[in-house]
Each structure stands twice: as C-alpha cells, then as structure tokens.
C-alpha cells in the first residue's frame, strides 16, 4: 500500500462530494432490471396454468432397457429418480421424478401470495396505527409504541411458530402471522413519518382553516407517508417471503401445496445435496433472484425518496 494511492480517498475535498450527491437522485438501470425480473416472475406465477409447463405433480419416470439377468432378454425397467437437468427437464427432477422448473414456478404462486398478503396486512394495520399514534400523540401513542416494542423484542420466528401452532397451518394463517410480524416495523416508520410531516406548513395551514383531523390524516398526511412507505413495502415483501421460506424449511409452513421453502427442504438432506444438488438449488436461485430484486428496488426507492429511518 503506497501513500500515493492512499491520499486521494483520505483527503477528499468538498467538491468531490457534489457530483455523487447529484447522481443519487436517479433510480438507475439496476432498478428497472429488478422490476423486470419481478414482472417476469409474477407473470409466470399468475399465468402458470396456461403456460406450456409440465404438470408439477406428474411423475415423469424414465425407463431404460436392461438385460434380465435370468432370461437374458432385454426388458424396460424404470430408472431411479432424481434425474439430472436435461433437455426435457432443464432444471432436472426431484426424487419423485417431478419437473423442478414447473414445481418452482407453481411454488412461486404460494410464496408470492403469502409475501404480498403479509406485507399488505402489515401496511394496513401497522400503517394506520402508526399514523394515528403519531398524529394524535398522548396516551394512545404511548400504548401503541409500547405494543410495537413488545412485538419487536419478541423473537420473530418464535412468535410465528407460536401462532401457527396455536391456529393451523393454512395459507391464510401463515400470511396473517407474517403480517402481524410486519406491523411493528411498518408502524414505527409510519409514526416517525407522520411526526415529521405533522410539523410541516401545509398541515398547520389545513388546521388553521379548520380542517377536521380525519381530513388532515387522509388528505394531507397519508399521501406523504405512503410515498416513502412504498420502499418499505418492497423490502418488507422480501422479508415476508424469506420468513415463509424459513417456516417452510422448519416444516412449519402451509400443509397443502408447495412453496419455495418446502421445495428447498426436500433437496436439503446431505445425500440429496451430494447426488442431486439441483433439487435444492433450483428454488434457491428463484428465491434469491426475487429477494435481491425486491431488496434492490426497495433500496433504490428509499435513496430516491431519501427516507432516513427505516427499521426492518
């Protein structure tokens, strides 16, 4: 390490900062790439039944000709699955000879729905509570803030397991559970944003002309709080999808139908990983790309709107 290369970064002058600062205010190519992937995967999930995909539940057992050791005749006998990726199954098959690509795309349906429903629930409940708490303050604010803190100090995954154990493991319950987990982080941001905007001139102006509280909340504050929250929605959806995957991985997610987490679980045994890594890695790749896309798009949006305090 020579000093000559050391100096430029250490002793940057003020002018160095200006161009970067200006450049930050663009969403950029990466953002649109991420959005493209999200559109592709959501489109594939929605249109899965009409797309030329193989039936995700069909067993595509392959046969080969073998010489019967006793009679010496050639007979057709089934080959032990899983089958490695080939032109018929580009991502291979699982242990029951089912096509991994179609299973992964059908799995996306559940994973995406759960992720979306969870964050939507969190936004509606947490957002409303947080905004009202931030707006009216006082004892209501204190109680709501304390509830948020309780939810945050509880180990999230443990709470999820507790709730699913308590009710059942249907799609609805899982989405609800993850939605409950999203309440506190969303609520805290909504409250903080409301506090910021409640001080602004346009709110004061609305008050002085005698606008009702409900009108100020909905017409003046909501649009301003909603914009930065869109970034949190994307990040939160990523968190929910991962959380569902984690539950599934522990064998505690939805009982019927496949999700990415469950698919990964089926391929994650040490011998399966060794002999047929594609079973676990196909859903991992789809999950990873989706989560990266959501995180990246959310991150860019957050920079774009310059939201400082986000707690996910």
């Amino acid at each position: 390490m020579t000093a000559a290369t050391a100096q430029p970064e250490l002793i940057a002058s003020d002018e160095d900062e200006l161009p970067n600062f200006v450049a930050k205010k663009k969403l950029g190519f990466g953002f649109w790439l991420a959005i493209t992937w999200l559109i592709v995967i959501i489109g594939a999930a929605v249109l899965a039944p009409v797309l030329p995909l193989k039936d995700p539940d069909q067993n595509f057992v392959q046969f080969e000709e073998k010489e019967n050791p006793i009679t010496g005749k050639l007979t057709e006998s089934p080959v032990q699955p899983p089958y490695s990726p080939s032109s018929t199954h580009i991502f291979g098959t699982d242990q029951d000879a089912r096509d991994m690509l179609s299973r992964t795309i059908y799995g996306a349906r559940v994973s995406l729905v759960v992720g979306f429903a969870a964050i939507a629930f969190g936004m509606i409940v947490g957002g409303t509570l947080g905004m009202i708490a931030g707006f009216i303050g006082g004892w209501f604010d204190r109680i709501v803030s304390f509830l948020f803190l309780c939810l945050l100090s509880f180990p999230a995954l443990v709470l999820a397991i507790l709730i699913t154990a308590l009710i059942d493991r249907s799609l609805f319950t899982i989405a609800l559970t993850l939605g409950i987990l999203a309440i506190a982080p969303v609520g805290r941001l909504a409250r903080a944003q409301t506090l910021v905007f409640a001080e602004r001139e346009f709110v004061t102006a609305a008050r002085t002309i005698g606008a009702k509280n409900s009108r100020i909340l909905i017409r003046e504050l909501l649009p301003n709080v909603l914009i930065p929250m869109s970034a949190l929605a994307l990040l939160g959806m990523a968190v929910s999808i991962v959380a569902e995957g984690s539950l599934a991985f522990l064998g505690l997610s939805i009982e019927k139908g496949s999700t990415w987490g469950k698919l990964i679980l089926t391929g994650s045994g040490i011998s399966d990983l060794d002999k047929a890594p594609w079973i676990a890695f196909t859903p991992i790749i789809f999950l990873f790309l989706t989560v990266v896309a959501l995180n990246f798009a959310g991150d860019r949006l957050r920079d774009y709107f310059d939201v400082r305090e986000i707690t996910v």
């Binding site: 970064e9 940057a12 803190l149 443990v158 991985f249 676990a280």
Partner: protein, 323 residues
C-alpha cells in the same frame, strides 16, 4: 440516573408483557395433562387413572384458573425455578434442559458475532478507503447479495460447497465431542460452517453501514489533521476514523440480536445442533409450555440486556454522549 431507571422500568414492563403473551397463547394450546401422563389423561373410567390425573392437576396447579397459574409461574420464575418439562418422562426440571442447550447456542452465536465483526470491519474499512473504486463496487454488490440470501439458502450453499464438494469442513455437529481442538472431532471446528452461515449476512449488513459512516468520517478535519501529524494511513483509518464510525453498526447490532435467535434456529436445523433454537421448536410442537415460556423469556431477556449494553457502549465509543 433517571434515564437508566426509566430503561429498567421499561424492560420489566416488556418482560411482563411478553411472558403474558406467551403464557396466554400456550394456555390455549391443548391440555398439558396429555404431555405429562400420556393417553391415560383422557381416561375418566379407571379410578386409578382418574386419581393420577387429579394428583397431576394438583401438583401443577392445572385445576386453577389461568391468571392464578400465571402468577404462580411468575413467582417461581423470579426465584429461578423454571418448572418442569411436561413432555419428558419423569418431568425433569426445565433448568436441566437450559443448562444442556444454552451453552451450545451461546457458543454458536458468540462465534458468529466475532466472525461477523472480524469480517465486517476490515471489509468496511477497505471499501470506504477506496470509495467508488472497482474493489468498492464489487464488495458493495457482494454485500448486497449476502444480505438478500436467506439464511437457510446460505446454509445449504455453504454445506454443499465446503462440507460436501470440497469436503474441507465437517458437515455435522456432535454434541458429545470436546469443544476445544482443531480436528473434525472437535466442536470448535464443527461450528465453523454454522457460524459462517450466521455471520455472513450480519457481516454484510455491518459492512454496508460501516462503509457509509466511514466515508463521512474521512471527510472530517480531524482525519486530515491526523494525516498531517504524520500518522500512517493504517493508523488513521483504524486508530482515528474507525471508532467514531461504529455507531450505526452498534445500533443494528442491538436490533439484530433478536433476529439472531431466528437465525440460530434455522442454522441449528440445517447442521443438527441441539441448541436453544431447536429446543423452542420442539417444545412448541409438543406443547410443552413451561419449556417454551422459560426459553422465550431467556431469549427476550438476553435481547433486552444486549440493548442496554449497546446503550452503554455508545458512551464508551463517544465520550460526548456520557450522561
């Protein structure tokens, strides 16, 4: 002083709220009598069994209303009596399970945090001192990837690459092996892959925060001053700029401490480490509520205590915030 008293009051209030929530939820879950006695708990005919049921009810206060049971439990818990494991034969005390499981999880998480900081600090310093260079951009992308990779997926990838294909590190954990030592037969080595699975995403989060803060610090006058004093580049970065740039990392360290137990749960599942995480899942599924309660309370207390420590560390890092 007043501040710390408030903190303490808040902590106690939180612990009470969390314990009530857990206690309430667990009371709705099935009948613990089945856990204790097995199928005979449902027997209302055989007088011998009915007597046993009655005895068990009285012993564990199961015939009392939920609020009373909560108060009894809380009283015992404060004095260090965690109750007994309903679902294990002979009903051994929960503290036995805690003593067996907790050290393993502590070993795992402490190792993971040391690794995370050990990776994140040099990595963040490198990135910030070459801000916007190719190295920096590549490392920002890498960090982003790790943050977006779910824990279980990362665990599987590490297991596949280092445990199976390259066969460098042990892929299973054996609770009976000795801890200290450097062969596959020692738990220190067996914990490397699990600890990395926990550490890499955390390290990436820390790296991102440290990089941002450090870039800001490097614009400060006192950094230029330190250079002009003749301090070497390394000394300026690590001795002068690093410490005032650690605040965000510290804050997030506190916040993610809770997420760590979730991570530990996943990692313990993948690598089959019988720790607290696995114990909680097992206990919930077996509806063994004294165990669930004790473990949830331990985890929550640890989280709250860690956050108080984080608060104390702020004043160590920055003398200006000393109260």
């Amino acid at each position: 002083m007043k501040y710390w008293l408030q903190r303490l009051g808040m902590m106690i209030a939180l612990l009470i709220a969390v314990s009530m929530l857990t206690f309430g939820a667990m009371s709705f879950l099935g009948d613990p009598l089945f856990n204790i006695l097995g199928p005979i708990a449902g027997d209302t005919e055989n007088p011998e069994n009915v007597a046993k049921v009655q005895a068990a009810k009285e012993q564990y206060y199961l015939d009392k209303p939920v609020p009373e049971r909560y108060v009894r439990w809380a009283g015992d818990f404060i004095t260090g009596d965690f109750g007994v494991q309903f679902s294990t034969d002979g009903q051994p005390p929960v503290s036995d399970l805690v003593k067996e499981r907790l050290p393993r999880t502590i070993q795992l998480t402490v190792m993971a945090q040391i690794l995370a900081l050990g990776i994140a600090i040099p990595w963040g310093v490198l990135s910030a001192s070459r801000a916007n260079s190719l190295t920096d951009r590549a490392s920002t992308m890498t960090a982003f990837g790790f943050v977006s990779l779910p824990q279980f997926a990362l665990g599987i990838i590490l297991l596949y690459v280092f445990g199976i294909k390259l066969d460098l590190l042990p892929d299973t954990y054996n609770a009976t092996d000795p801890f200290w030592g450097f062969t596959h037969g020692h738990r220190l080595i067996q914990l490397i892959l699990p600890a990395f699975t926990l550490a890499l995403p955390a390290a990436s989060t820390y790296q991102r925060l440290l990089r941002t803060d450090l870039i800001t610090t490097l614009q400060e006058d006192f950094v230029l001053m330190a250079r002009a004093k003749g301090m070497s580049r390394r000394k300026v970065l690590f001795g002068h700029a690093l410490r005032p740039s650690m605040f965000s990392v510290l804050t997030v360290f506190g916040i993610t401490a809770g997420a760590l137990i979730g991570g530990a749960l996943i990692v313990e599942t993948i690598f089959r480490i019988p720790g607290v995480g696995l114990a909680i899942v097992e206990a919930i599924l077996r509806e063994d509520f004294p165990v669930v309660l004790a473990l949830v309370m331990i985890v929550t207390t640890a989280f709250l205590v860690l956050n108080v420590l984080v608060d104390l560390l702020y004043s160590v890092l920055d003398p200006r915030v000393r109260r």
